[in-house]
Amino acid sequence: MNESASIAPDRRPEIAPLFLFRWEDTQSSYVLLYPEGVVKLNDSAGEILKRCDGEHTVAAVIAELQQTFAEPPERVATGVHRFLEVSYAKGWIRDRA
């Protein structure tokens, strides 16, 4: 993936107001709940969205996850960018106002 086409590192994404993000014991995973819908998140998606709190910059999200996951740092960065792009496109997250 081309880094230059990715999301600017100083953006601070947060969960969009239509969505509720939380841990769900019965699914052993993080979920996104919204009117009439549920999205079950895999581990890495959950870890990324957990940090979309309007405080973390994209760079900070990546830096923390590079500590958390055993993957090569470059792959973690690419994965975060890719997932954030999807999340912005789906309206799950927005930039902090």
Binding site: L20, E24, T26, Y34, E36, G37, V39
Partner: protein, 379 residues
């Protein structure tokens, strides 16, 4: 209301992710497509108490239910709605209110907000007063518009649900504009499904294929114009699809409805099927009802399927369609849904379309106690 086109995209792994509580069948409206039973008035004296509903909520949450719809009838007619919302919210449900708006005054709206209600789905039947009032059988239009604005002012995410029928389908542009002006988050233009009162009125309600195509074009244009500002669902009627809807994502897979009398149902319409028993939460645990009861096991999976479904490559996509529709239109709930062009009974659908297009002026039957006998619906 969970339905074909609903956005749950999650394998429930055997859990009833979506719980709908039909708190009451009582309702101030008399909609001509009401999906409540034709003999809805027989249930009024059997409604579960507040404590019984709380027990249902507790049990369902431990079974893994996540999404919760408070529905009816009109759920605002229950004075304990706020109490139940607060209780459910405390258990961790995502709480949805599905309402006609009647009874949702400012005090109760604010009380529901405080109770932790997450979103409101409001029904609206057309873009103009006269038609709305005609379809619901009472003066409701202005009140609904007022409620819609107050729901947004109170900061709730909002779904505006418009049941689409021949009478309002040509208003799609005006409905889109109205929804945009109100600022709804999700607009659901749902071609109605034909059960109960809707089936009784089918000849007068079913739109033509040309009307549906035109409406769909307008929806596409609006989607392009509005982008993420408003999500528009357009649920097309299975009569014109050639393939059945994946009803309830499969029988007993993720959807659990509790009827006003406590009956645990795989879908809200299922009591139209003769010969099934509908045990209630008054006699059984929810765990038994969901996992073990003969009702939920009846059409779970695909063992029950007959030809052509049993050998069909699409059976894991649409699960053979809707059991209620199969029963109502072919007389056997285990038959392929006749909305499927592969069904040997598909002609009942094409004949219904022909009959509808030939009967422009058939009078509508409004939902009223005693206005219809169940026998009228048996083919």
């Amino acid at each position: 209301m969970p339905k074909d086109g609903s956005a749950i995209a999650l394998d429930g792994q055997g859990r009833p992710l979506w719980l709908v509580l039909e708190l009451t069948y009582r309702c101030p409206l008399k909609c001509v497509w009401c999906n409540n039973p034709l003999d809805f008035d027989r249930y009024a004296s059997k409604e579960l108490s507040t404590d019984e509903w709380k027990d249902v909520l507790r049990q369902a949450r431990s079974l893994g239910s996540l999404q919760l719809g408070f529905s009816g009838g009109e759920p605002m007619l229950r004075d304990d709605l706020e109490e139940l919302v607060e209780f459910a919210n405390g258990l961790g449900f995502y709480t949805n209110l599905i309402t006609s708006g009647i009874g949702l005054n400012e005090d109760r709206l604010q009380a529901l907000k405080r109770a932790g209600l997450k979103q409101i789905q409001l029904s609206l039947q057309s873009a103009d007063r006269k038609l709305t009032n005609e379809l619901v059988g009472t003066r409701a239009h202005d009140l609904k518009i007022d409620v819609a604005r107050r729901i947004k002012a109170a900061g709730f995410p909002m779904v505006l649900n418009v049941p689409v029928v021949r009478q309002n389908i040509e208003q799609v542009d005006r409905i889109l504009a109205l929804a945009e002006e109100i600022g709804v988050d999700y607009l659901e233009l749902a071609n109605i499904q034909y059960y109960n009162w809707a089936l009784l009125n089918r000849e007068a309600l079913l739109p033509s294929r040309a009307q549906i195509e035109l409406a769909e074009q307008k929806v596409q244009a609006a989607r392009a114009r509005l982008g993420k500002r408003m999500t528009i669902y357009f649920v097309i009627p299975d009569y014109y699809e050639g393939r059945p809807k994946a009803c309830m994502n499969g029988w007993g897979t993720i959807h659990l409805t509790i009827a006003p009398d406590g009956a645990a149902l795989p879908c809200q319409e299922v009591r139209v099927i003769d010969g099934l028993e509908f045990p209630t939460v008054r006699e059984h645990s929810l765990e038994w009802l969901w996992n073990e009861s003969p009702l939920f096991r009846k059409f779970r999976g695909d063992e029950w399927m007959k030809s052509p479904c049993s050998g069909c490559s699409e059976k894991s996509t649409d699960f053979g369609g809707c059991r209620c529709q199969a029963f109502l239109l072919t007389g056997d709930a285990a038959n392929c849904d006749p909305a499927c062009s592969k069904s040997p009974h598909h002609s009942v659908i094409t004949e219904a379309i022909a009959a509808a297009s030939a009967s422009i002026d058939r009078p509508l039957v409004h939902r009223l106690a005693g206005a219809a006998e169940p026998a009228e619906l048996t083919p």
